[in-house]
């Protein structure tokens, strides 16, 4: 189903303003896209991280849906428990009328998903809970001051991969979380980039309506962490897709496909932009340009080419 902005504006935004996310952070936009993609009642859980901390600073909350936070590593376990409790109440006939058909959605940052929360996520996927897990991937532990995570790309300057005479930043490639999730043979998994809101909302809707576990990995540029201007997220989200740094992928019942601009690139209808176009205006990669680290830039391009080839093959190209 297509979404029309003229219809969406009439609905209540699920996240109230007054939250303390940084100026220009797209994570609240991601929450908006996910939660507004369906009219079902929703229940959310949140892993510790920027989104959780900054939307619930006491005595305020920005959430207009039932919301639960337990810890950093267990958003997926928390949502599993909520979903199981819901079925328990339904069986006893004690479920309030307005919560029939409720949908369960967990949010977590990349630290809370790729790293510390991966066993909770894996468990929830394997147990087959009827829920959606959304990772907003800002490529680092941003809430605690920009530490590297297994989602941080090579060459990025973070506080735990600091740049110096002996270091060009992070040395390791990003973890392929999508493939790990898909290996659980769940019915739906996809990647989204918030600038392509239509693609993101369609995937969110599919993921929420799917019976069983679903997973979305949402690209989420970070203003202080990537050292970028406050109005940069849209452009960078677009460039990440155009460079194939962040391909738009959908995996439905094990069948891989590409969507949006990524499909156009794979079909030869659009150009794959060189990775430097994505990197050159980000402070976290600045040293690669000022110190003329062409070898590292080549490493990054090679890594993108390798993963793009892999995803293209998976999608049958």
């Amino acid at each position: 189903m297509a979404f029309l902005l003229k219809d969406l504006i009439k609905k209540q935004a699920p996240l109230a303003s007054g939250h303390r996310m940084c100026a220009g952070c797209p994570a609240p936009v991601i929450v908006k896209q996910v939660l507004m993609s369906t009219d079902h009642p929703k229940v959310c859980t949140n892993a510790t991280g920027c989104l959780e901390v900054a939307t619930t600073i006491f005595p305020f909350t920005s959430w207009k849906v039932p919301w639960l936070h337990i810890a950093f590593e267990n958003s997926a376990a928390a949502v599993s428990g909520v979903e199981a409790a819901y079925h328990g109440l339904a069986n006893k006939g004690e479920l309030p009328e307005d919560m029939k058909n409720a949908k369960f959605i967990a949010f977590g940052g990349d630290g809370g998903t790729y790293d510390i929360g991966i066993q909770a996520l894996s468990g929830a996927l394997e147990r087959g809970h009827n829920m959606l897990y959304v990772c907003y991937d800002n490529e680092g532990y941003m809430n605690t001051g920009i530490q590297r995570s297994s989602a941080t790309p090579i060459g990025a300057n973070t506080t735990t991969t600091p740049v110096g005479s002996q270091s060009y930043g992070k040395r390791e490639i990003r973890k392929d979380l999508l493939s790990i999730v898909v290996a659980h043979h769940i019915p739906y998994a996809a990647t989204c980039a918030p600038h392509d809101w239509m693609d993101g909302m369609k995937k969110s809707q599919k993921a929420i309506e799917t019976e069983g576990p679903a997973f979305l990995n949402y690209f989420s540029p970070c203003i202080p962490g990537w050292k970028i201007p406050a109005d940069a997220w849209r452009k960078l989200s677009e460039l990440a897709v155009k460079t194939c740094f962040w391909p738009l992928i959908e995996v439905e019942n094990g069948k891989w496909s590409l969507t949006g601009e990524s499909k156009r690139i794979a079909d030869g209808k659009a150009e794959k932009v060189p990775a430097v176009e994505f990197m050159k205006n980000q402070g976290r990669f600045k040293h690669l340009f000022t110190q003329k680290k062409d070898d590292v830039l080549a490493l990054i391009q090679a890594d993108i080419d390798r993963s793009w080839d892999f995803y293209r093959k998976m999608a049958g190209y």
């Binding site: 003229k6 007054g18 220009g24 936009v29 600073i57 005595p59 305020f60 959430w63 109005d231 997220w233």
Partner: protein, 95 residues
């Protein structure tokens, strides 16, 4: 701009928050260095600014963008960046 901050003896017992989305009573507009200025003459009401605003600060009345909620807008400028008609410009806040 006046902010509702409760003291300890005005808060509900147990620290419960009784109103969903009550963060709207906290004004993040003070963060701003640049403010968005909306030009209704150029605006085509495409609502791209609404979709891209992280702070739910685009005011729409009867289907028309009428301006910004400056109590909450943090001045990130994404609305101006995404506007296809340049109907939003960022101007320095005067104190």
């Amino acid at each position: 701009m006046k902010e509702q901050k409760k003291s300890w003896n005005e808060l509900p017992i147990g620290g419960s928050i009784l109103e969903a989305g009550n963060s709207k009573n906290y004004f993040t507009g003070t963060w701003r260095t640049f403010k968005p200025v909306h030009n209704a003459k150029l605006c085509i009401n495409c609502y791209f600014c609404w979709m891209h605003c992280p702070d739910d600060s685009i005011v729409i009345e009867n289907g028309k963008v009428t301006g910004m909620d400056l109590d909450h807008c943090k001045g990130c400028g994404v609305c101006a960046e995404v506007c296809p008609k340049k109907a939003i410009t960022m101007e320095k806040e005067e104190k």
